[in-house]
């Protein structure tokens, strides 16, 4: 585990009160995206706040002492391999499961306080089957009615979200007759009814074909700034693309959390992938790269042909480092396969789990 990883782990499991304050996985949001809060409504400091949450199933501990703080307006990812505890964490946020220990609040309320949250939270469960005998329209209208939307507005609300998921032609279809992709989008539509302030999405693109998955991603991106979105997913590229921040879970514990920039170290390292066969030993360009003042350390991975340059984010930025390094490499006629800021979320997760 790298030093950076250890730091991030410490963030999720702070030792001192001061460290705790700094350490919670916070993602800053633009003030413009914060929903106006009515006078009578309880003012929430965070969209989601979990403190020391433990969930046990018999002797098995699925989630172990998770502390998480997601700011209002953020798009936040829950990442981890199978069995890491992300769906359990998600299910506790949605109120499906009750924590064995610890506290959990959504917009300042326990997830089981349905009356306070019904119109403020939308949830896409991963594997919940739509009621097969219900028609899509009446299912969405039923959900809208239960969500505090008056009868005369429920149809508009339902039709609007159905159109948003590109399913306006499915209104009269039975849920049981929908394909997997269509059902997923209807389930997504019910999560979006009534402009909820917090949207929880569990594997929103799992099992979808690439085109539909792309459309769903665009849809989620479209909600950015209008709601706090929490996504649990295996799809790391997707999360890297959509999320502002994330928590990486492994065996029930948060092993790293922070903004996406922090997790991918995109503001601290640059990677250049060289073409196979490029000679590196004793190469003059390598020495030139090492001598760059802005670069603190250079590593080369023979196997992956990966040239990594580490720098201090306070002193320079990734773009400047890339420009200088590429200048040297191109002058030396080195063939380049790719350039990236940071090590990528996938690599980060591989390192940590």
């Amino acid at each position: 585990m790298s030093a950076e990883t250890q730091d991030s782990t410490a963030e999720s499991k702070p030792e001192t009160p001061a460290a705790k304050a700094e350490a919670e996985a916070e993602v800053k949001a633009s003030p413009a995206v914060i929903q106006p809060v009515k006078k009578k409504r309880k003012v929430a400091e965070a969209a989601v706040r979990m403190k020391g949450v433990i969930k046990r199933f018999g002797v098995k501990t699925a989630v172990d002492d998770v502390t998480l703080h997601v700011k209002i307006g953020a798009v936040y990812g829950l990442i981890g391999p199978n069995g890491a505890g992300k769906t359990t964490t998600f299910s506790m946020m949605a109120g499906y499961l009750k924590p064995t220990q610890g506290s959990l609040e959504i917009l300042g309320f326990a997830p089981t306080q349905v009356d306070e949250l019904r119109s403020r939270i939308g949830v896409l469960p991963q594997d919940a089957v739509l009621p097969s005998n219900d028609r899509v329209g009446e299912f969405l209208m039923h959900m809208a009615r239960l969500q505090d939307i008056p009868a005369d507005k429920a149809e508009d609300a339902a039709r609007t979200v159905l159109a948003e998921v590109d399913g306006k032609d499915w209104w009269a279809q039975r849920c049981g007759s929908l394909s997997h992709g269509m059902a997923k989008r209807v389930a997504l539509a019910q999560a979006l009814i009534g402009e909820p302030e917090v949207i929880l999405l569990d594997e929103p693109t799992a099992g979808l074909d690439p085109k539909v998955a792309f459309e769903v991603r665009q849809l989620i991106k479209g909600r950015k700034g209008r709601a706090t979105i929490i996504i649990s997913s295996h799809n790391l590229q997707e999360l890297e693309e959509i999320c502002d921040g994330a928590a990486i879970l492994d065996r029930g514990r948060i092993v790293a959390s922070g903004s996406m920039n922090e997790l991918t170290a995109s503001s601290e390292e640059v990677h250049v992938k060289l073409a196979r066969g490029t000679k590196t030993t004793g190469a003059a360009w390598m020495q030139q790269v090492r001598e760059l003042q802005m670069v603190k350390r250079v590593e080369f991975d023979d196997e992956r042909m990966d040239l990594a340059m580490y720098f201090e984010r306070k002193e320079t930025d990734a773009e400047t480092v890339i420009s200088h390094v590429l200048w040297i490499l191109l002058n030396a006629q080195v063939k380049i396969s790719g350039v990236s800021k940071g090590r990528g979320l996938e690599q980060r997760v591989m390192d940590l789990t």
């Binding site: 929903q35 106006p36 009515k38 009578k40 409504r41 299910s91 949605a94 109120g95 499906y96 499961l97 009750k98 089981t112 349905v114 009356d115 306070e116 949250l117 019904r118 119109s119 939270i121 939308g122 949830v123 469960p125 594997d127 919940a128 089957v129 739509l130 009621p131 005998n133 219900d134 039923h142 959900m143 009615r145 239960l146 969500q147 505090d148 939307i149 008056p150 507005k153 508009d156 609300a157 609007t160 979200v161 948003e164 389930a187 019910q190 009534g194 402009e195 302030e197 209008r226």
Partner: protein, 307 residues
């Protein structure tokens, strides 16, 4: 930006969805679901066929009895019945009351009450366990109180059974009327009374079925357990009945129900049909109390359940 940006209807003060509204919405949907499902259609069709066969048997029995007693008309049959009952009980008022009860419809009521638990078990075993198995329940638990969901499901099941029972009574009454065994007036009086008698009894069975359904994620386990529980309750009723018949043969006196017979919901039909208002109120109180208790326990268990 959506046309449904946060607006007054969604954001003002306290949410307006009261538990009663939740229960109504969930019960209405449950009813709609049951009527549309293959299971609902098949069970409905079988029940209607069964009811036609049952009422034909009932009128055949009444016809045989009339012939045996030599009653030429309905009035003559009532008079003969009254005399026979008064002779055996010595109670003229009770005899007058019981003699007017249409025999075929009373028999039909007994049959519907006896088969009622079977219908309720088959209709209700997956009311909750099916939703738990497929996790469909997750769409509801973020939008409705758990107890409202449970109670809504109960009412959905109970109203469905009540509507089926009403349809059966209409069929039975029509057959009896067509046969000339009952007049329009007495059909209206007794038909409605018999249907009303079946309501608190079916409510109790429905509450038990739903309670059991909420305990399982696998519907077949729910079904087997419901059958098991109903069978045990039936044994209580049967045991009490056999004991009373034995006592009557031995001593010649009809004894009161044993304590354990009160556990069997069907045992209250005679109390509910009684001419004594105290008996009716007592039976109603026990059945409603029992139903409320089971629903409260079921809701509490469901509210604490991980879904």
């Amino acid at each position: 930006m959506s046309a449904l940006a946060p607006t007054a209807w969604a954001r003002k003060g306290k949410p307006r969805v009261s538990p009663l509204v939740e229960i109504r919405l969930i019960a209405a949907r449950e009813l709609r679901k049951s009527i549309r499902s293959v299971k609902g259609i098949v069970l409905g069709a079988l029940t209607l066929i069964g009811s036609v066969v049952s009422i034909l048997i009932c009128v055949w029995i009444e016809g045989g009895q009339r012939e045996k007693m030599g009653a030429g008309s309905t009035q003559a049959y009532i008079d003969l019945k009254r005399a026979a009952i008064e002779k055996s009980t010595g109670d003229a008022n009770l005899a007058a009351h019981l003699a007017t009860v249409p025999t075929s419809l009373l028999l039909f009521l007994k049959i519907t009450i006896w088969f009622g638990p079977l219908l309720i078990a088959l209709l209700g075993f997956d009311a909750l366990s099916g939703d738990l198995q497929h996790r469909s329940v997750r769409f509801w638990t973020v939008r409705s109180r758990r107890w409202s969901y449970f109670v809504g499901k109960f009412f959905g099941l109970w109203v469905l059974v009540s509507l089926i029972t009403l349809a059966l009574n209409v069929i039975a009454g029509s057959v009896a009327l067509g046969k000339g065994y009952v007049t329009g007036g007495s059909l209206l009086t007794f038909g409605v009374q018999f249907w009303l008698v079946s309501l608190p009894i079916s409510a109790t069975w429905a509450a038990i079925a739903l309670f059991i359904s909420g305990l399982f994620r696998t519907p077949i386990l729910g079904l087997l357990t419901t059958f098991g529980a109903f069978f045990v309750l039936w044994l209580f009723g049967l045991g009490g009945f056999i004991s009373r018949v034995g006592d009557m043969i031995e001593s010649g006196d009809a004894k009161a129900m044993s304590w354990y017979e009160y556990i069997y919901p069907n045992a209250y039909d005679e109390m509910l049909l009684s001419s004594d208002p105290r008996s009716i109120v007592t039976a109603l109180g026990i059945l409603v109390g029992f139903s409320v208790l089971v629903i409260a326990a079921g809701s509490a268990v469901f509210a604490r359940k991980d879904v």
